[in-house]
Symmetry: none
Subunit: 219 residues, 4 copies
């Protein structure tokens, strides 16, 4: 096979890209468009334009707009899940390191870009009225919540803390989501560094033997 035979367009893309490449291209453009225009004003025309592709192609790769949006949310969810699972995997066995990994993972540069945060909040805003989204998010949220509770339980037992581990996990989970919201709503006041510091402040308050506002206390 001679690759050079494939006609190239001015932008260097082959005219016929693989199915998955195109799909990902359109999903990325969808995230960007939601981030820029909001969920309600996201049109297929705009998504296509941002992707530099033709209008009709979307309905070829995704059957409907709903499908495109669902697949976009699915991509975001998988990316999010992969991110914290990988972080946890790299964290080692200590519960404090695991929680630190989880907290830091939330502000990882790959998943916590401005566009993606905005897209997330947009999806959250629509989720209530769209059972499809809820059905997709529910199990993933559950998985995360369970893992977080587990770690909190380990920390509580390690540190002999008085609180209930579920309550601690709930505080942390809510706070992480709240920080994302704040990042979206008040661009100027928050930086990722501040966000992380805030998260560790909560960890330090809940688990003072394991954390300071700067991060986990080394063994």
């Amino acid at each position: 096979m001679d690759e050079t035979v494939k006609p190239k367009r001015p932008d260097g893309q082959p005219r016929k890209a693989s199915r998955d490449t195109r799909r990902q291209q359109l999903i990325n453009s969808t995230i960007a468009t939601i981030g820029r225009c909001g969920y309600a004003k996201t049109t297929l025309t705009e998504v296509a334009r941002n992707a530099g592709l033709s209008h009709g192609l979307i309905n070829f790769h995704f059957q409907t707009k709903e499908q495109l949006l669902s697949d976009t949310l699915l991509f975001l969810m998988n990316e999010y899940r992969d991110n914290w699972i990988r972080a946890l995997h790299e964290a080692g066995p200590r519960p404090a390191d695991q929680l630190a990994a989880l907290l830091r993972a939330d502000f990882n540069e790959v998943i916590c870009t401005e566009e993606k945060r905005t897209a997330w909040v947009a999806f959250w805003g629509e989720a209530q009225s769209r059972p499809v989204y809820q059905a997709m998010c529910g199990p993933m949220d559950q998985e995360y919540a369970l893992r977080l509770e587990e770690i909190c339980a380990n920390l509580v037992s390690e540190g002999g803390y008085a609180m209930k581990s579920e309550d601690a996990a709930r505080v942390l989970r809510a706070m992480l989501e709240g920080i994302w919201l704040e990042l979206v709503r008040s661009v100027s006041r928050y930086s990722l560094a501040v966000a992380e510091r805030t998260a560790f402040t909560a960890a330090a308050a809940l688990f003072p033997k394991h954390f300071t506002a700067g991060g986990p206390i080394p063994a």
Copy 2:
């Protein structure tokens, strides 16, 4: 009383109502509609139907759909602000009581209904792409944040806590917003009681001399 003098409609509403009555009626219907259908699928026809009025009336009282939505957000913001300001006013001088009042106010039955929570999240989702919304929310958020920081600073100084009061305030603020999100997203898992307990868990972690997970420690 002769009922026939004032002809009522089937639903008991007079055919003509005062300007403010109708505006509020339509704003309430907008909140309900956003709550039920989501921001993107909120149409004037649906808002009108929910209010039992004709859709032409909306453009009579509000000039555009945008205006209706802005005014609805404004109403929600003012209601939210009035709520915590009143709560604070009734709380007395002790910082712990003030923070408790603030935390409880967030889950007050008037402002924290399912419909209103959903509407809030929907507006948050759109805010990023709508400078108008941001301009409206910014100052109100700021006012709340400042008051919260003040109270945290008082608690820190009273209790001799080691953390920075701004960090504590940030944790609490993010957590409160996060809890609202969770309330919207996972209807079943959270109740208002659980929400309040979660909030006080955070307060107890941050200010252990002043709070337990059950609430403020009496003087």
Copy 3:
């Protein structure tokens, strides 16, 4: 009857004006509105606002918008007719004086204001598609055309001109209407003085023994 009993409004108008006064007030406002906004964008709300009256009053005095517009056109037509008939009446027996009177009457300040000219052209533009307007204008046009032809015939016979009087009348009629159009379309280039000079230029060309570009040649 004590006149002072009648409540006066700030603008000095009695609250209850006579039927005809109100009607004329609304017709004048209609002319002004058409002049300012064009026929297509003339709304009852705007007419009412310009008249300083309430919206609903129009449907009381005129039954429909169509009726208001018809009555407005009728007023313009009668005013136009009265104007040239009076001018002719005051002109004396000489055909040249009569034609001069007719030409000058067309640029009389009462009927040839900017607003009225514009309204006329707007009505002309709609006439083709509105049989009602045509039915109203037809007879009046006819009457004018006949009188003009009569005068032209007298001039032709007096001066022994070679042309057919109907042709001359047609030239004059078309030119007068054309000048109104030009007055509407090119505000800057035409003044009423230029308009009149143009009209007499045509008269002088057609009837050189009776007219110069400055006006009729005295007996």
Copy 4:
């Protein structure tokens, strides 16, 4: 030729047409619709129906109704201009022939159809309240006026006429527009032949050495 290769619709049009074809088709339909329904009652639905196309297509090719109307006026103006310029070009060097060409061009069958005349008057009626239309028409009117004055000046100098050439040009211009108006307003009384005869009557009156009511006097 295999007809089955290109599937045709019942009306013989291909389903897809080139951009310019469709645009022209819609412009023609707009002229027809204005001619039939008047400016104020011209709706996109009607324009689309007359063209045998869907109304959504209009917003695809023109962005707004305003744009469609502007482009329609532009087409009429260019067509009008092309017509008299071509006529003048074919007329040869003699001023009398040039004026004759100009007068006849105004009643040319291509540009002086009933529909187009009506559309013109409709646009004139709206022009006053639409700066866009005025801005478009102004320069074209000017160009025509200048050329007409030039020819009149040549005739005056050739024939040693006493009148000012600008006055003559103004008479002719106004009369031509007035005849169009008359053609629109009194369909029955005027024919194109009568219109032309009227125009030459004016020319003969102004330039008796060059014209009779029947046309230019040959060299």
